[in-house]
């Protein structure tokens, strides 16, 4: 069914619902690459005006990718909760924006509403929002998750310690791990991207982190970000698997290109749950996503980048994850060209993910061929703190020497905690203080515990 909207006598026609969404999307290079972006600034606003008048119910009636062809569409529609949706059932997309921003809409309203929202509804409304709106709504959403500590409480900001090494060298990884812990990083997860996805290598890395965690009784969880099938094999072999990691996307075709489907994720989740390793909770899935992934795998079905991304959150939501991380600037300038596009995309992801009830973290990052630099990352970092991102990355000096991109440093998290008065997860904060690694102002202390940590790799 075509849609149209007239602006000062010029009638803009959009062939179908996905075209309205794509053309209403704020400018980004990936939508231009896909050929779905608005052709002019006026056409973009015409599409936004058209979208604002559409009823939210249209997204339940007109799947963007056919129900028969895509298991993510089936998941979205089959698990939609009509009773949660009831309070906003009569709203248009434009009215939904006003509703979200209203003083009467509180954190608990949004929590109750969440199961009634579909990715397409939140993607649609986000396209009408400015940065300010994305921050207002996202900071209103509260999502708390637990495994060995509590993540996402108000006023808290967690970090993933990411001690990667180009050849998975154990001492190299341990050196970055110690550095990170001494800077107060690692309460979201200690998570290594392995250079190779071999079962043996991944298993040894898991054992190494687990040994350190147990010896120092660190209230956190570990993860080696290998393919879910590798993790399943490691669970069979008795490896100390805390979290199940997987990259996921918003279409069945993209998930196929990752070598996964919903039932495989379910199998892995159940296998990890059977290990019963959580202490304060048992949320143990860790997902990563990112705008542009579906297009790069030619699995986007003509949808815009951001709508595909929001659909990935429906996949995440089905598995009650501990952590969801949008790796926003990693993909390159053909998808998100510069700092402006990366920052906007990151805020859309945080806002949409949190509206859908997810513990959204973000890899605030860029590659060297993108038009971005550390100033852009500082802007984004500060905005993410205000928006209430659940966690960010912690990489030594912001330089990931394995994945060759720039993320956030341990210092960056300290900066955010200082200027916004944010603290790590309560269990982890107590650990830092009890160990004497830091004082209450996150100043580093020369303690006996610090020496014990350093003795993991003694001075030779």
């Amino acid at each position: 069914m075509p849609f149209s909207h007239s602006v000062r006598g010029i009638s803009y026609t959009f062939a179908d619902l996905k075209t309205v969404l794509a053309k209403a999307s704020p400018l980004r290079s990936g939508d231009q690459l896909a050929g779905v972006a608005a052709q002019s600034a006026e056409e973009r606003v015409a599409a936004q005006l058209c979208l604002a008048d559409l009823p939210l119910t249209i997204f339940l009636q007109e799947p963007l990718i056919p129900y028969e062809k895509d298991e993510v569409t089936r998941l979205i529609l089959d698990t939609h909760k009509a009773e949660a949706f009831a309070p906003i059932r009569s709203l248009t997309v434009g009215e939904f924006r006003d509703f979200l921003l209203s003083d009467l809409t509180t954190s608990s309203t949004l929590t109750q509403l969440s199961p009634g929202l579909t990715p397409e509804m939140v993607a649609a409304v986000s396209k009408l929002m400015r940065i300010q709106d994305l921050i207002s709504v996202s900071s209103k959403c509260q999502v708390t998750t637990r495994f060995r500590n509590t993540i996402g409480l108000p006023g808290r900001l967690s970090t993933r310690l990411q001690p990667n090494h180009p050849s998975d060298d154990y001492r190299g990884i341990a050196a970055s791990l110690i550095d990170g812990l001494l800077y107060g990083s690692g309460d979201a997860v200690i998570g290594i991207n392995p250079a190779t996805d071999h079962v043996q290598t991944v298993g040894k890395l898991l054992e190494m982190i687990d040994t350190v965690r147990q010896r120092f009784e660190i209230p956190t969880q570990s993860c080696v970000l290998s393919h879910v099938t590798t993790t399943l094999r490691l669970i069979e072999l008795g490896a100390p698997v805390d979290l199940v990691f997987q990259s996921i996307g918003g279409t069945e075709a993209l998930n196929s290109s990752f070598g996964i489907n919903l039932s495989l994720l379910q199998e892995a989740k159940e296998a990890a749950l059977s290990l019963n390793r959580g202490t304060v909770g048992n949320q143990l899935m860790y997902f990563e996503t990112g705008q542009g992934a579906a297009l790069s795998a030619n699995a986007h079905h003509g949808l815009d980048l951001q709508t595909c991304e929001a659909r990935a959150y429906a996949v995440a939501r089905a598995f009650d994850p501990l952590l969801v991380n949008t790796v926003v600037g990693f993909i390159g300038p053909e998808y998100l060209y510069d700092g402006k596009q990366i920052i906007r995309a990151g805020l859309e992801d945080i806002c949409c993910g949190k509206l859908l009830g997810l513990p959204m973290g973000i890899d605030i990052c860029y590659t060297n061929h993108a038009e971005a630099d550390q100033d852009d990352m500082d802007n984004m970092l500060t905005l993410m703190g205000v928006a209430g991102a659940t966690f960010i990355m912690g990489v030594p000096g912001a330089d990931d020497i394995m994945l060759h991109y720039q993320s956030t440093s341990f210092h960056d998290a300290l900066y955010l905690r200082k200027v916004l008065g944010m603290r790590p997860s309560p269990e982890f904060e107590s650990w830092l203080l009890n160990m004497g690694i830091m004082d209450e102002q996150f100043r580093s202390l020369a303690s006996e515990s610090r020496q014990r940590l350093l003795q993991l790799i003694p001075r030779s």
Partner: protein
């Protein structure tokens, strides 16, 4: 005066990893020296992306080995378009295509392509060195070589089109890799057996991180010669070849 920055007493950990650890602090922030060192590395990486491809220099260098060179360009007209449209960087523009088609090409084993990719400065520095070591060895094996395609604003897959028009049994492309913070000048080599337009990554073999501080010229050339001869023997490239010979290559 009290100390303005606090150094970390675990600087010795740096011997175990090139990661930027034990940076110390100014308050909660990175001290000035370490901040500027990072900025310098990023500046070098940025400059590498926008560095100028010295096609004349490449032509001169291959001429000393008795090979001619052809100047070619992809469909990307400038750096911005190259960055925004990877699809255009994978295809030759029409004048380049015509130019290649007009060449009378006797049957040959190898077409060597040099492309700027994401770091022209990397190929300006390293491509002549690799070609200088490689060509005499291939000649000694009795291989015939097509003129060297020197192609600007190009991505890896452009080599398959060039090799196809040159009717070469194999194509080797030397191309600038995405600059890293500590490796702005890294070059990659990709090899394809029976190149033709439309092939994808699984049809190619790759050797990366070619630079004096990474994979040395000698070792890289050794790997290229090994892969080329194995491709010719097995009449295939890509995943199939990699599976069989990966362990020997990485040994």
């Amino acid at each position: 005066m009290t100390q303005l920055t606090q150094p970390d007493d675990w600087e010795y950990l740096r011997q175990f990893t090139p990661a930027r650890l034990a940076l110390g602090r100014s308050g909660h922030s990175i001290p000035t020296r370490q901040l500027l060192e990072f900025n310098l590395d990023h500046a070098r990486a940025r400059d590498a992306v926008y560095s100028i491809f010295d096609q004349e220099w490449i032509k001169y260098q291959v001429s000393t080995l008795g090979l001619s060179a052809l100047f070619l360009q992809s469909q990307a007209r400038d750096r911005r378009e190259f960055l925004l449209r990877p699809d255009l960087g994978r295809r030759l523009n029409e004048p380049s295509r015509q130019h290649l088609k007009e060449q009378v090409m006797p049957p040959n084993e190898l077409s060597i392509v040099v492309a700027d990719g994401l770091s022209a400065s990397a190929v300006n520095a390293h491509a002549p060195q690799i070609i200088g070591l490689l060509v005499p060895q291939m000649k000694a094996l009795g291989w015939q070589m097509a003129p060297v395609g020197v192609v600007s604003q190009a991505r890896v897959a452009v080599a398959d089109e060039i090799g196809f028009y040159q009717q070469s049994e194999m194509v080797l492309i030397l191309i600038g890799e995405r600059p890293g913070l500590t490796s702005p000048d890294s070059m990659g080599a990709y090899l394809t057996y029976r190149p033709k337009p439309g092939l994808t990554d699984e049809s190619r073999n790759c050797i990366s991180n070619i630079r004096p501080d990474g994979l040395s010229y000698e070792r890289a050339t050794e790997k290229i010669v090994y892969l080329l001869t194995e491709m010719k023997k097995n009449q295939l490239s890509g995943v199939g070849l990699k599976d069989d010979f990966n362990s020997q290559l990485n040994a």
